[in-house]
Structures are given as C-alpha cells and as structure tokens.
Point group: C2
Chain length 186, copies 2
C-alpha cells in the first residue's frame, strides 16, 4: 500500500546523522540506549539491521493553536535543518488515558490557558526550531503519542533547558506518563 507521505521514522542504533550525547528518562520506561539516531522520511516497518528501536510519527493538522497564535509563531519561528543547528533533541512523549478522554475545550484549557504551552514556546523563537510528529492514530501500536524534534546551536542549549523546565512544571505535564529526553550532536 502507498504510504502516508507525512510519516517520519526515527531509528535508534549504530548509524545515522545524529550522535546521541545523553539520554534522560523523565517518566515511564526507558528505551534501549543507542549510539546514533537516523531519520527516515517514510515509515520504516520492522527494525533495520543494527537498530534497537524505531519510532514513527506523522505531521498533521494543528490541534490547539488559534489563528492569532499561529500568526505569531509563523512570524518568529525557524525551520528544522539550519546549518547552524548542530545540536538537537528527540523527546518522545506519551500522555495518560485521562488526558485523551477529555474533550477538546478541556484539553485546550489545560494546554494553553493554564500551562501556557504556546506562550512558553514563543519565548525561545527563533533560536529553537521544533517539529511535531503524532503517533496515536498510526496503523501500528506505537509506544508514544508524540515525537517532538528540536534543533538549535550549541549556545542555545541553556535556553532550551529553561524552556523544558517551564513546560515540565506545568499542569499539562501531570498528564505525561512517559517521556525520554534524547540529546543529539551532529
């Protein structure tokens, strides 16, 4: 069958353009430690030789962002893949059943009105570029709900850490039941 062209696979193993600098398990089970991560702009079925895991996600339509917020994001954000961005982070996240059972308005209320997710993200633009991949509605049963990929220059890593600390102390993060922070160097 023809593949959804928006699917990306992150393959953890011994090859790939990104070297793993550190892996921190913030919630839930760890993933097997790997040396490198390779990005494939397709769905990789099964495990390539030498790989220990493969995480798939698809880019999709916006889920919470309003038109006004998007305008501010678009005016300020950079795209993944700048030559200056020699650092990256892959942060796979799973949210609890309690999150997913909530209605759209209840999730939006926690996400932005109370946790300021977009507002916090805006504060580090354009230094930190971000791309979000959704896993929950793929055909395969995936271990995470989201794969967030960030890239930035080495000098911006401290700002990235402050961003994550703010998000992780928010009400939204009470619904995160698995999170792994994998830092990468090109």
């Amino acid at each position: 069958m023809e593949q959804n062209p928006r699917v990306t696979t992150f393959v953890g193993g011994s090859t790939g353009e990104w070297r793993v600098a550190s892996t921190t398990v913030l919630a839930g089970d760890a993933l097997p430690r790997v040396e490198r991560i390779a990005l494939h702009t397709s769905s990789v079925e099964g495990l390539p030789s030498g790989a220990l895991w493969a995480l798939r996600g698809t880019s999709s339509n916006l889920r919470y962002t309003t038109a006004e917020e998007r305008e501010r994001l678009v005016a300020n954000q950079a795209s993944i893949g700048r030559a200056s961005a020699d650092r990256a982070a892959l942060i796979p996240i799973r949210k609890s059943a309690d999150w997913w059972e909530r209605t759209q308005d209840a999730r939006r209320e926690i996400f932005e009105a109370r946790s300021h997710h977009i507002e916090i993200g805006l504060s580090v633009l354009p230094a930190i570029a971000r791309r979000l991949h959704h896993c929950r509605d793929l055909t395969s049963c995936e271990p995470f709900d989201f794969l967030t990929f960030f890239d930035y220059a080495e000098r911006d890593e401290a700002a990235f850490d402050r961003l994550l600390a703010k998000l992780r102390s928010s009400e939204e993060w009470r619904f995160v039941d698995r999170e792994i922070d994998i830092r990468l160097v090109r």
Copy 2:
C-alpha cells in the same frame, strides 16, 4: 508490528454482513460498486480475495466536542449494533487542503458555530447511532479523511436523510471534496 487496536477496515466486495442497497457519489471520484461490505476490527493490509476496495480508519480522541456538548451526546446517544438497527450507511468523506490548513479555532467556528454539526446530530438521537473513524494519520495513504458509519431502523431512514440534507447544505460541507453515501441492509 503490533496493530493499533482502534483500527477498523471496511472491505467492499462480494461477502460481508451488510448488503449494499444503493451507492450515491456526492462529490469527487466514485468507488468501484460492490455487492456487500464486511467490517473487520483490525487493519486489513492489501485486498482480501473477491474484494474491490478496503477503507481503513481509527477511532480517536474527540476533536471539536466540548464537555457540555459531550454531556448532551452521552445522555442521548445509542451505540452501533442494536438488534433493531437493520439499516446502515457508510459515508466516507475527504475534506480539502483549505480545511486542514485552518487552525483549530477556525475549524471549530465553521464546524459548530456556523454549521451546527453537533446540534444537528443531536436532533436525531437516539434513533441514529454513529461511529467516526479517522483516516488521515494512518501509516498508509488513505483516499478519505473520515469514515462515518451509522445504523438505524428502517422507519428512521427519512430522519437520517433529513439530517444529511441539513449537514450537506452547511458551510462546513463547502470543504468536503469527496463524499460517497453507501446505504446498507443487514
């Protein structure tokens, strides 16, 4: 790989519990005409023998419904599969790129404030039961964005037709670029 347990496949061909009574193409390309439709509570890869098409979708979290609307839906709705429901409809729908590029608040505004999608749906409860399957974020490239399945008793088919006429004349439906209405008899 283990499958997403929320995926359903509708297989059109010569076998299956539902006999096709009529097929109406409302927008976009037709599907090959079939005699029967079989429901599989899994992702069927490729085409079973005798089948002319297979459409996959996954149930997922609510996208537009508010907590207050859900309360009214839950208080009134019936589940698919009642013994009295010997009629059904499978309505696959695709929406335009223009729809998907809009932000959440803009889509919600069209969906409910201006098109009254949920309000119109509430008016036929509990006679018409509905189940929604999302196709857009599956791993495969699917020809529709949604598969909506309804079941009801024969005497409620006129109310179902009135419901569809209201929705199809709404602003939301200007964004529907492919729609096929397949009526089924058990």
